[in-house]
């Protein structure tokens, strides 16, 4: 029988501001957070320290003083790994790749239990300063960054184009922000939990037109740990778990824009990666009960909801405004609060998304629980969704 992988345990600190400024007398140290999280996640899973054969860590931000953090952390835990110990980096996809690589450790038979974990510390670094680094991550550093492009400017141009083609409005996108804030109000891990109204959202200052402050992510620190296990081990633990049923990846061969003009808002990579994941899982988009997207801005959530097949082209925005994507709606999306309200500690963002899907599928999402959630979908991405990594997970209770 083909090996399969399950999420059997999770832990995370609330997303928010954890990083200390360099001049503060008492500093927050990453290893102190991570060792506590590992112990919590392992207790949640019910596995033992000796079972863990692989550790896949997301690359810390450059602001983390301790380098080679993965091997440093292994020493704090005195883990004896015979699979792999490594740090992965894939820009916005970093945490999704971390999860995927940890799955591979089990699928390859290198271990029966693996940790996928990481910490992202950046919030004490001023936004304009951090932007000097992030503007080098999208487009071409010489031909685009020199003109002042920044990561979210590409999503803003998606929004502008989508509005032009389909008649979507700022109110449609604002509805996504309001919905996600409502979800976040029910999530103890979320950074921004005070409910907001449509009027308040539309009244915020502009960041990248047509997007205002509540349409874009804030600055966030975060840390999370997932315990993954082979299906055999997962079954033996006698607790609910979420099994990975399908996985799809696609890089469309471009970076931000396709120099051969295409339909930029179609998000072809997300479309193809989700089709692959559905096929592997033997399901269709209609079977999915809950989804956690990597969607840094409100229009991205709309575009991804179409690309993965939940809605037809141009229908995602009105559907969101009608409440079809909220808890209790036809297909709840970003029940955690999403990147705009749960928070976006970029290099670990997807770890939080897997935590949320695991909570939903293990039936412990509290007030924001999607009733009878059986199949969940996650997306990770990089560029302007030029690459997408999609997983379909199923509840086993």
């Amino acid at each position: 029988m083909t090996r399969r992988v399950a999420i059997v345990g999770t832990s995370a600190i609330p997303v928010g501001r954890h990083q200390t400024r360099a001049d503060e007398p008492l500093q927050v140290l990453e290893q102190e957070i991570m060792t506590r999280l590992v112990v919590q996640a392992v207790q949640d899973a019910g596995v033992e320290k000796k079972d863990i054969g692989s550790l896949v860590l997301t690359l810390p931000r450059p602001y983390t003083m301790q380098k080679y953090f993965s091997t440093f952390l292994v020493s704090h835990l005195r883990l004896n790994c015979t699979g792999s110990v490594l740090e992965v980096m894939g820009n916005g996809m970093t945490a999704a790749v971390c999860f995927d690589r940890a799955c591979d450790e089990i699928l390859l038979g290198r271990t029966d239990v693996a940790l996928a974990l990481g910490i992202n510390m950046e919030a004490a670094t001023p936004a304009a300063e951090h932007a000097m680094s992030s503007m080098r991550t999208t487009g071409d550093v010489d031909f685009h960054a020199s003109s002042g492009f920044i990561p979210i400017s590409w999503y803003a141009m998606d929004a502008m184009r989508y509005m032009h083609e389909y008649g979507a409005t700022r109110e449609h996108f604002a509805a996504v922000a309001v919905k996600n804030r409502w979800h976040a109000s029910m999530n103890p891990l979320a950074q921004f939990r005070k409910p907001i109204t449509l009027e308040e959202t539309l009244a915020q200052r502009q960041i990248v037109e047509p997007l205002g402050l509540y349409d874009v992510p804030g600055r966030s620190d975060g840390a999370a740990c997932l315990v993954l296990a082979s299906e055999e081990v997962a079954k033996s633990l006698g607790r609910p778990y979420a099994i990975v049923r399908g996985r799809g990846f696609c890089h469309d061969g471009s970076h931000q824009i396709n120099e051969v003009p295409n339909d930029m808002t179609e998000l072809i990579a997300a479309k193809e990666a989700s089709a692959t994941a559905y096929k592997q899982a033997g399901v269709t988009a209609n079977d999915i009960d809950v989804a956690e997207f990597y969607a840094p801005c409100t229009p991205v959530e709309v575009l991804v909801s179409e690309a993965v097949g939940f809605f037809g082209r141009g229908e995602g925005a009105p559907a969101a405004a009608e409440g079809q994507t909220k808890v209790g709606g036809r297909i709840p999306i970003s029940t955690s609060g999403g990147l705009t309200s749960r928070g976006h500690p970029a290099y670990v963002t997807s770890l939080y998304n897997y935590c949320e899907i695991a909570d939903q599928l293990r039936g412990r999402a509290g007030e924001r629980q999607v009733k009878d959630a059986r199949l969940g979908l996650t997306t990770g991405e990089l560029g302007n969704y030029n690459a997408a990594l999609v997983h379909v997970l199923e509840a086993q209770r």
Partner: protein, 140 residues
């Protein structure tokens, strides 16, 4: 075809690096020349200029002039800028589909009485900063 130049009384906020390979592009742009590489094996244009064709991987690349007109595919105005661009904010950037079938992204500058709108015709211009040029688009 020579692009119109617009003088900007300041140095570029985040100057691009120039390589021996891209030097003809930047020096040409300073003189108003809009050119990039075209593959002699498969005939496809590419921008930014590249020594290897991304389509067929041939290294037989030649400099060719590009069309200076196109359509505004999308745009945004950036209010929240990185440190070096704070003085210029808000400023607009865009994605343009050139008439010859190449998609590029540039700074977007205003023309009196023409609000930016997806689908509108645009032309390319050169912003001549004190230390060198940058490509930009402007409504026609």
């Amino acid at each position: 075809m020579t692009l119109e130049s617009i003088n900007v009384a300041r140095p570029r906020a985040y100057p691009p690096r120039m390589s021996a390979f891209t030097q003809p592009f930047w020096e040409g742009l300073k003189a108003g020349q809009w050119q990039s590489t075209c593959c002699e094996a498969c005939g496809k244009h590419t921008f930014p200029p590249k020594p290897v064709c991304p389509h067929c991987w041939s290294d037989r690349m030649a400099w060719k002039d590009l069309s200076s007109r196109g359509t505004l595919y999308s745009w945004t105005r950036i209010h929240s800028a990185p440190k070096v661009f704070v003085d210029e904010a808000p400023y607009a950037v865009c994605v343009v589909d050139l008439d010859m079938g190449l998609r590029i992204a540039t700074r977007l500058v205003a023309r009196e009485g023409k609000a930016f709108q997806c689908g509108m015709p645009v032309e390319l211009v050169v912003l001549q900063f004190e230390d060198g040029p940058l490509l930009a688009s402007r409504p026609l």
